[in-house]
Symmetry: C2
Subunit: 386 residues, 2 copies
């Protein structure tokens, strides 16, 4: 029994080793894999064979029947068999993303929808429709969906949305409510955005990802890992104090960053009705719009200075609508960061715009399942065997 | 060669295992140690023998010559041979602490001294006198001092104090400047205070330790480890924004927490000259003093609310002068925390006063060397052998 357990855990570790090398380095021959992992060539061949059978790896170049494992043939992550879903409920939209194991996006859909004050059950039914469409697409492509992760803005833990004041949700078991034929996990939208940025963007391994939407959240990545805090509630940048005597916030407090730089505050100050309208106004040089972004950028600078003082950050990535608004927000935020941090730290953290725009959270959500499989392919192989 | 290296690293791991069990659990027999570590009794006996010879362990009960290792005799960490120094330069004082391996404080001394604007070389010479006195005490007690750690308020890294605006220091290589016959390392005062609280206080394994002095710093402990951030500069709570339009701060910014709740702001608002005077005024019910503490407590509440939103904290420990002022600060800070966090998080973090008062940083500083030895006793044994 102990023998069997040891054998299984060694096999799991070796499968992870092989898959990890291929995932990080790209196409590799079996010989190169043996060298990189320190495993014997025959062990590598057996493991690669099992991963090919499970559809997690594929051979490159023209495949000929009965000729698996010819010298010089390389293996890569296979995008042909296994995939995952990323789902998102945001205040203004619902979104889905289908990602295969080779990290290629195979299908996305986003539906604008005003979810303010909507009953969770109704929102979840609408999201089910998008998810079902994506699952149909996966099936048509011959992909097995291993799992889904749902992104919701607001503090989340143990499958429960504790509080999403902008949706009007409280203690909602959102993942359980989703009736899908795959396991669904729940996570915070800004945390998943940070993971999306880590895996699909250009922020390096240490950064704060800021998700600007109706709510403002943040995800801290340190050494390539997400810092979640005691209950996974870290990164609530939107409720950092800008001024205690500021406008009332939906969270019950006053002067939170969201009341200055959240999407609704921004649109109201700019006197426009939507983000596209705001962008048009900014590009045409409308003063009200520019002043609204300047004030929001300054507030963002103050809140980020507090975050840098507490978290010790070098690099901040602005995502969500803040990515599109970057040319107007950053010039207001940067001088505040310099004035508040320059003398104490010697250097001022850099601000950049996420190239993923509104897709970071769904990419991070879909990526979480892919990373889980790459980090522990054993159970997936057993399922594929059974 | 490879064999030798493997043997050495296995021995190092086993020494750490044995020492770790004794450190966590207290007195243990060799037989209990064998059971707890999974090592054979003869391996345990050899390791315990080496640790006894190096003076890191001691046998309990009456020791009789030639009778080491009798059944039933327990071993404990020895406080009789190895010790470490904790040193602190703060704005208003210098301090030293001599700690033995069994974590008993053997000597402390604290000298009030106004270090504002003092040349680093002069402050360091004064500290050397205290340290030399402690080393003399160690020598008289038969203790070998394995190392010293120096606590300085302000951002610190790679042996350099980057900036201590309250001392007027900038890029000071403080540890190098200390001429002592033991290796000296440098760390931030609030980080060391948090470690002192972790090892000698009652905060559990997850808390924010707030060091209230002329400057205000904080150290975040997550799962029993200090979170240091990208450059070890995390936890600069004193420069978190309370109000962007607030009073100018020595760091170059405005409205930082320090300008509301730092020792100098507090004494000025209370119209007293020292912390003891402030305590007398508070205890006699003087309105100006009580109002000063109430305003400082409210500002502390706002800054801590930002910290809780970013870091996800359940428990906050107030140290330094904030521990003594706790009965006047906490009743002002707690309602602010409740109002800013209650609805979003469902629960409000608890505030408690550190029982270590002003000694947390020197205890943490001395404790760091002790923990290093307990975590890796091998090199110390070799030195003892040689």
């Amino acid at each position: 029994m102990t023998q069997a357990v040891r054998h299984d855990s060694m096999r799991a570790r070796n499968l992870e080793l092989v898959l990890g090398e291929v995932s990080r380095r790209g196409p590799l021959t079996r010989a190169a894999l043996a060298e990189l992992t320190g495993l014997t060539k025959s062990t590598v061949s057996k493991l690669v064979g099992d991963l090919l059978d499970a559809g997690l790896l594929a051979e490159t170049g023209p495949a000929r029947a009965g000729e698996r494992g010819r010298p010089g043939v390389e293996v890569v992550l296979s995008g042909g068999r296994v995939a995952s879903l990323g789902l998102e409920v945001n205040v203004d939209y619902l979104a889905v993303c289908l990602l295969d194991l080779a990290r290629t996006v195979r299908f996305t859909k986003r539906r604008e929808r005003d979810n303010r004050g909507s009953r969770p059950a109704i929102v979840v039914r609408e999201l089910e429709k998008l998810a079902t469409e994506a699952l149909g697409e996966a099936s048509a492509l011959g992909l097995t969906v291993a799992g889904a992760v749902l992104a919701v803005s607001g503090p989340v833990g143990d499958g429960v949305v504790f509080s999403a004041p902008n949706l009007g949700w409280r203690d909602v078991r959102a993942a359980e409510m989703l009736r899908l034929p795959v396991p669904v996990d729940l996570d915070n939208e800004a945390n998943l955005g940070a993971l999306g940025q880590l895996w699909f963007g250009t922020g390096g391994d240490d950064f704060l990802y800021v998700s600007g939407e109706v709510g403002i959240g943040a995800g801290l990545v340190v050494g390539g890992s997400l810092f979640r805090g005691a209950h996974g509630l870290a990164g609530e940048l939107g409720h950092v104090v800008v001024s205690p005597s500021g406008p009332p916030c939906r969270c019950g407090a006053a002067g939170c960053l969201e009341t200055y730089a959240g999407q609704e505050a921004l649109l109201a100050a700019a006197d426009v009705r939507s983000v596209p309208d705001l962008l048009v106004a900014l590009e045409s040089g409308a003063n009200t719009a520019i002043e609204a972004c300047t004030a929001a950028g300054e507030a963002l600078g103050h809140a980020l200075a507090s975050a840098v003082n507490l978290l010790d950050l070098d690099h901040i990535v602005l995502g969500g609508i803040f990515a599109a608004l970057f040319p107007w927000l950053a010039p207001a935020a940067e001088p505040v960061l310099a004035a508040r941090l320059g003398r104490l730290r010697g250097s001022v953290p850099t601000l950049t715009a996420s190239t993923l725009r509104g897709d970071a959270a769904t990419l991070g959500a879909a990526g979480r399942t892919i990373h889980r499989i790459l980090g522990d392919p054993g159970p997936f192989l057993s399922r594929a065997d059974g």
